[in-house]
């Protein structure tokens, strides 16, 4: 550890190299957080994210007598020229029972527009108990100019839903999907 000897010079170089690797590694770690975060959220059901996959209908639980209220919300993101609303705002459902509701969309402009709905559930912790058998949010939707349609969601609420949850809110935000140009300025969308 003394200076002005040859080994000290090598040791400086070695320390520098190790520290540069550490810094670059931490930069990489920031990006590694992306998949880590998603896996964590999926495992714990945090963040109100529902699964983007349809559930298997072969292993349905026995419906229970317990009832909960499920509310539906729909909104469009900035720059999305669609009208988007639930056909019914509230439904009383039994746990484990399969229900279907519909959302209405209408394209307000004359061009064809592609949309992608992103779901969110409140309270966030209840997201993992809302199982969707069929949902328009699994795929992108296309509407011709002025076109309209009703889109179904088929779902059931898991019988293991915690006692304290009596009302669930399922909210969709409809985003406009467009081929992204490399220099597209998102600030002005």
């Amino acid at each position: 550890m003394t200076r002005s000897t040859k080994p000290s010079h090598d040791s400086r170089r070695k320390h520098t190299a190790v520290l540069v690797v550490l810094a670059v590694g931490m930069f990489g770690f920031a990006f590694a957080l992306v998949p880590l975060y998603n896996v964590f959220c999926e495992l714990t059901g945090l963040n109100g994210k529902t699964s983007s996959q349809a559930v298997n209908t072969e292993r349905l639980p026995q419906a229970s007598d317990r009832e909960v209220t499920i509310q539906f919300l729909a909104q469009v993101a900035k720059g999305m020229p669609w009208e988007f609303r639930p056909t019914e705002t509230e439904l009383r459902v039994r746990l484990g029972e399969i229900n279907t509701t519909r959302f209405y969309v209408r394209n307000r402009v004359s061009d064809a527009v592609i949309g992608q709905a992103v779901p969110s559930v409140a309270p966030g912790l209840a997201a993992q108990y809302l199982h969707k058998i069929e949902c328009f949010c699994f795929t992108q939707q296309q509407l011709d100019g002025g076109g309209e349609m009703e889109m179904p969601v088929q779902f059931y609420v898991g019988t293991d839903l915690p006692e304290e949850v009596r009302t669930l809110t399922l909210s969709y935000t409809m985003f406009r999907v467009e081929p992204v140009l490399p220099d597209a300025d998102h600030a002005h969308l």
């Binding site: 200076r3 002005s4 930069f27 990006f31 975060y37 963040n47």
Partner: protein, 537 residues
């Protein structure tokens, strides 16, 4: 340089000579001076922005800063103070002091040192030039949460992003240099556990910087690609998540908080023993407490996000981990007090600032504990209580400790004693003004005044008027500090080599002012008396 050779081209203009000298210097003392000058300049720039904010908040209603300007001032005040004033000040002190304290002739990587510094002025030109751009400067707060900074950020956000990249590169390179210097260039016989505490705290801070700044660089890179290259890291439409931004940001942000205070701990640990004329109490526990704080700083980021819908288990984990930080911090405060216990204390300006640091930093620490309590935090979140808390840890914490260091080592740097009477006036007005400014914010915050809003309910008018008067006074006292520093550089009573009666350490064995080159041959710890003074640890 080969001087006076016949073949030499014509003599350069003195001004060019002057510029080149500072542009190309690899001397740790000169680079330290450059860092301190830059930091001092930006301290006044960001301080002026705070004056705009406080002037606007003097009374309810909108007087002269439109909301757009107000938001930009709040944002840039935070960014420039954190990255431009506090961090370069500590790096400047590290450059000046670490080689002198460990008996090294210079930093281990002098040219890298030059590069680390000269990136910074460009980074801040990029950041501050955004003030004059169409759409204005960044206006999303210093925490630049997505989507405010991605989808809704002004066009100048890209200048901000590259500015942050440059600041990050500068900090990381500077930290690598500091660690390599400390690990390789210590005088023979100076083991790690004999190093002065300022060196220890900087060694640990440098590791924090190397591990935290690249994560920030990652976050702003994701912002950049979200803004321009069609990625959706923080955009729910593409499967991303805005809350994820907060996780990445605070994974950097919480260690950053300790980056801005640990060197201050080191400074207090140098100054208090000198003026208490006693050994530092509990040297080993100081080192371990610093390391413990550094470790804990990486696992508490979630306490900034209690209201984002975290599960109970997460809230409890982050709450208890945060409260745990009070233990090593308490050890430190206890050690400082125990050092003073039955010491022959005198109260020169550096000691006053160090004591003010211990006192008022502790107040900030306590409000931090209050904020760690989840149910209370849900009430305090985004109110002026938070503003009061972090200004108490940053102003009397980071800035008072830097000022204590400036008064303490200025005689060594310049060879002149500062004006003690003016120094004391500076301390007392600053101490009063700090409390006048930030203490009422606790009350306005608890009463519900939200932060970052240009206007407020008349219910908070009195508290805000007091805060604004205090802030004006605080701004003025720093002009006095500038005057004292310039006066000391230009002349004054000659300082002795040891400067302070109770001062110990290698930097006090060299002449005042410190010559440009010191410790060309490694000092002997025995003859300098260093080994004897540290043997009892």
């Amino acid at each position: 340089m080969v001087a006076h050779a016949d073949t030499l081209p014509k003599q350069r203009h003195p001004f060019i000579e002057f510029i080149l000298r500072w542009l190309l210097t690899t001397n740790h003392k000169e680079i330290g001076t450059l860092y301190l000058c830059l930091s001092f300049t930006l301290f006044f720039v960001a301080g002026a922005m705070a004056m705009v904010v406080r002037a606007e908040l003097f009374q309810p209603g909108i007087q002269f800063a439109e909301p757009e300007l107000y938001n930009q001032m709040v944002t840039l005040h935070g960014l420039v103070m954190v990255f431009g004033a506090v961090m370069p000040a500590f790096v400047g002190l590290a450059n000046w002091l670490i080689p002198m304290m460990i008996g090294a002739p210079d930093m281990a990587l002098p040219r890298l040192n030059n590069f680390s510094f000269w990136i910074l002025p460009f980074a801040f030109v990029l950041l501050l030039s955004s003030l004059f751009m169409e759409g204005g400067a960044p206006n999303f707060g210093w925490t630049f949460y997505a989507p405010l900074s991605t989808t809704y950020g002004p066009p100048s956000t890209d200048y901000f992003i590259f500015g942050v990249h440059l600041m990050g590169i500068s900090s990381v390179l500077g930290s690598i240099n500091i660690i390599v210097t400390i690990l390789n260039l210590r005088a023979p016989g100076m083991t790690l556990m004999k190093m002065p505490l300022f060196v220890w705290t900087w060694l640990i801070t440098a590791f924090l910087l190397i591990m935290a700044m690249p994560v920030l660089a990652g976050a702003v890179t994701m912002m950049l690609t979200d803004r321009h290259f069609g990625t959706s890291f923080f955009n729910a439409a593409g499967g991303g998540d805005p809350v994820f931004f907060q996780h990445v940001f605070w994974f950097f942000g919480h260690p950053e908080v300790y980056i801005m205070i640990l060197p201050g701990f080191g400074i207090a640990s140098q100054i208090i023993p000198t003026f208490a004329r006693k050994k530092l109490f509990g040297y080993h526990s100081m080192v371990f407490a610093t390391a413990a704080i550094a470790f804990l700083s990486f696992i508490v980021w979630g306490h900034h996000m209690f209201t984002t819908g975290m599960p109970l288990a997460g809230e409890l984990f982050f709450m208890y981990a945060t409260m745990l930080i009070a233990v090593p911090t308490g050890v430190k405060v206890f050690n400082w007090v125990a050092t003073m216990w039955r010491g022959s204390m005198t109260f020169e300006t550096p000691m006053l600032f160090a004591l003010g640091f211990v006192m008022m930093f502790t107040i900030g620490g306590f409000s931090g504990l209050m904020l760690a309590i989840v149910p209370a935090d849900i009430q305090y979140q985004d109110t002026f209580f938070v503003v009061a808390h972090f200004h108490y840890v940053l102003y009397p914490g980071a800035i008072f400790s830097t000022m204590a260091a400036a008064y303490y080592w200025l005689p060594k740097w310049t060879g002149h004693m500062y004006d003690e009477r003016l120094g004391k006036i500076h301390f007392w007005t600053a101490a009063i003004a700090v409390n006048l400014t930030f203490f009422p914010m606790h009350f306005s915050g608890l009463a519900g005044m939200p932060r970052r809003v240009v206007d407020y309910s008349i219910a908070f008018a009195d508290f805000n008027m007091v805060s604004s008067i205090g802030a004006g006074l605080l701004g003025l006292t720093q002009l006095l500090f500038l005057y004292i520093v310039i006066k000391t550089i230009r002349g004054g009573e000659k300082a002795s080599d040891q400067v302070w009666e109770g001062a110990e350490g290698l930097e006090w064995t060299i002449p005042s002012p410190a010559p440009l080159h010191t410790f060309q041959t490694p000092p002997s710890l025995e003859t300098s008396g260093y080994a004897a003074t540290t043997a009892k640890h």
